[in-house]
Amino acid sequence: MKIWSTDIGNAYLETHTKEKVYIIAGPEFGYREGHVLIVSKALCGLHSSGLRWSERLADVLREMGYFTSKCEKYIWMRDKGDHCEHIAVHVDDLMIASKDPEAIVKILVEKYQFKLKGTGPTEFHLGCDFFSDEEGVLCYAPKKYIEKILENYRRIYGTWPKPATSPLTTGDHPELDTSELLNEDDQKIYQSLIGALQWVIQIGCFDIQTAVTTLSRFRAMPRQGHLDRVKRIHGYLSKMCHATIKIRTDAPDYSNIPVKMYDW
């Protein structure tokens, strides 16, 4: 089984609009200035662009013999006899799990004329780095994303966060904080920092989840003390930036656990 990723270039230009959209040409159109132009391809910026694109991709995948999973409509599956192929779709990012991803990619490029970018074994997908360790076991780590948010932190505050060994101190109670309320600008910073941290949790760093969810509650009315705590979490991430999840497919052994039968 191989795991491949690919990105469909100019995704939104692959499909046509359903609505009539027109523009009045500006000076950049040269001699056509002032003409009324009708837009035929679903450009970015329309409310329906995303929908049109997903419909188009769905048609293509359906034609190739895929069907969406009943539990997760953005996961497409195809029965290949001895195994099942999966394609996970995130707007224009595809992740393909198959024994022969080359064939799928070939059809997408040759038959459907998609301009694919970054095709190959998954290395980076949705903010996560994918790699194999020395034993060839697939691992993923949000390292690049952590570096990005630390860089962002430095842009805002001018310094790196102070390293910490835990997201929050034990027995901390941010709800009891009585420091002054943040001004509007700091509130926005607080909200965007929390937003970035929530994505880090999604892609692997569950060690900070309790701290972040606890602090998320104050997004609407954060205080200085809460912002300081968010800074501390960044400090923790800077210190423990190597968090990596290893896809370990060996099953745990529960054979020594006694099975109790009860008459329910």
Partner: protein
């Protein structure tokens, strides 16, 4: 059933749950922490303030057990529709013996209706063969990471095999360590080696030797799951009750000043 035919290697599911009672001092609510594993890979995590106030740890743990059960049912359905075969019932592990004991057997007496309903939800899943519920020592419960504000020494044994199995990256000049990293890594290395020294002391004290890095993961894995699961009717060890963490003699790391290093 319209689910696809399961194909390929089957997975063993394990879920850990924990609750931190009275997490929020203002509302009095508790926090639920849940970690789901497929084989030995963590795949989903959850940490959230409970929506109701519980007056006893027992109640909040029951609610965590119920939330966990519901997520397990959902996850099993998802896997089914993705065409992945599952090995038997999901192993659900919690560290509150009272909850485990009452949930695993019929005719437990509940005095509060809402707790009783949580009990029935879990009990139903046990009776239906969806889950197997077992007790695990508090310090081996991985969901601990997701339910409270911890300090590194108290969760390091659990986190290391999960997220920081590549901890060698944190040691400067070690194989694979990155040169010129933007983040100060030296004190991480110090901390890690200190924790590791402590860990080894602990392990020797318990008479379990662990050698190379790889077998350390293997060994600690057994340690975290299989060998610590006790049958539900085993004599109650007072030290493994929630709230009291067991440390080897004179090794209460919480009181150890050096773990504070870098936290200020």
């Amino acid at each position: 059933m319209d689910a696809p035919k399961p194909k390929g290697k089957s997975v063993t599911m394990t879920s850990f749950f924990d609750a931190n009672h009275y997490h929020d001092l203002i509302s009095g609510k508790s926090v639920t922490g849940i970690l789901h594993q497929l084989n030995k890979t963590p795949i989903d995590w959850y940490s959230k303030l409970q929506s109701t106030v519980e007056t006893a740890t027992f109640g909040s743990e029951h609610i965590a057990a119920r939330t966990c059960t519901e997520q397990v049912i959902d996850l099993r359905l998802t896997l089914r529709y993705l065409g992945s075969p599952i090995n038997g019932p999901t192993m659900v592990l919690g560290d509150n013996e009272l909850v485990i004991n009452s949930a695993a057997i019929p005719h437990s007496k509940m005095y509060k209706r809402w707790v009783a309903l949580s009990y029935h939800r879990v009990g139903y899943a046990v009776a239906a063969g969806i889950i197997n519920i077992h007790h695990i020592a508090g310090k081996k419960n991985l969901a601990d990471i997701l339910s409270k504000h911890w300090d590194l020494p108290s969760v390091w044994n659990m986190m290391k095999p999960l997220l920081f199995w590549n901890w060698k990256l944190m040691v400067p000049h070690a194989e694979g360590a990155e040169e010129g990293s933007t983040i100060e890594q030296k004190d991480v290395a110090e901390l890690v080696s200190k924790l590791d020294a402590k860990y080894d002391v602990k392990v020797t004290a318990q008479g379990k030797g662990q050698k190379s890095n790889h077998s350390l993961i293997e060994g600690s894995d057994k340690d975290t799951i299989s060998s610590v699961i006790q049958s539900t009717n085993q004599s109650r060890v007072p030290s493994s009750r929630p709230g009291t963490t067991v440390h080897p003699k004179g090794k209460d790391t919480r009181l150890d000043p050096e773990h504070k290093m870098g936290t200020k």
